[in-house]
Symmetry: C2
Subunit: 140 residues, 2 copies
Amino acid sequence: MARGREVEETVPVPEITVEKRVTYEAYMRDCPAVSLLSSISTRWVSLTMCTLGVHERPMRYSEVSRNVPGVSQKMLTQTLRGLERDGMVRRTVAPTSPVRVDYELTDLGWNLYGLLAQVRDWAHDNADAVDHARAAYDEL
Amino acid sequence: MARGREVEETVPVPEITVEKRVTYEAYMRDCPAVSLLSSISTRWVSLTMCTLGVHERPMRYSEVSRNVPGVSQKMLTQTLRGLERDGMVRRTVAPTSPVRVDYELTDLGWNLYGLLAQVRDWAHDNADAVDHARAAYDEL
DNA sequence: CAGAATCCTTCACGATACTG
DNA sequence: CAGTATCGTGAAGGATTCTG
């Protein structure tokens, strides 16, 4: 991502042809970091990670479900599967009857949670400021 | 959001009726902090904020556009308007011809950027780890 | 309990065309 | 340059039903 600046500022403008720009933009889109950042930056990932993080212990599926505001069963399953696949969540199935499934953050997930929690706290602390900004904007 | 834990752990289970749960979930959905966190947690907000942040100076519309990988003109405009409305971005129109429009982070936006930049850096640093986790998961 | 599967709706988003 | 307006589509997401 930092390359954007270099290309933009160190390469003489005339040398950035349309073709090169298209290639560059395709690169940015396909850049693993951009792609990963994009996949993290979704409502359900954010809320699910926060829920798993604040509880600091394995949580049953139904428990997660009750603590992620507004999530449907389908989206929660889909989100948890994605997080498991990305190595951020560990899913443990206990062969009881009925089955018991636990979800918990991995070390990788825990690292990310540390950052997301700060964003969550920022949102909590600045909700009022944003509301006022919106009111002022809508006033006009 | 922290109330979720209290309800879950300090209120006797039998007292959580279906009605109360529905009310609680509606509250969570409507909670300003959850709502704000959700609106922040989108791909275009994340990428746009990062672009405005790394450059540390006012940017023209076209310049932002070139530095947010894969964004369409429609989505960029929509995202910038949303950020302006939320008080995170300041939009300045210079009455020249053709018009010149600059976008820059406000103090509020700058605060948030500080946190989002950490998430972006995390994504950059852990893209490989996630890729390996995905490969391992898909192996099965 | 913890989902899978299916259907159906909405809307996020892109493509295109037009404008001051 | 910096948009607005419109249209069309695919994907996101909800509701419902079924299952081990």
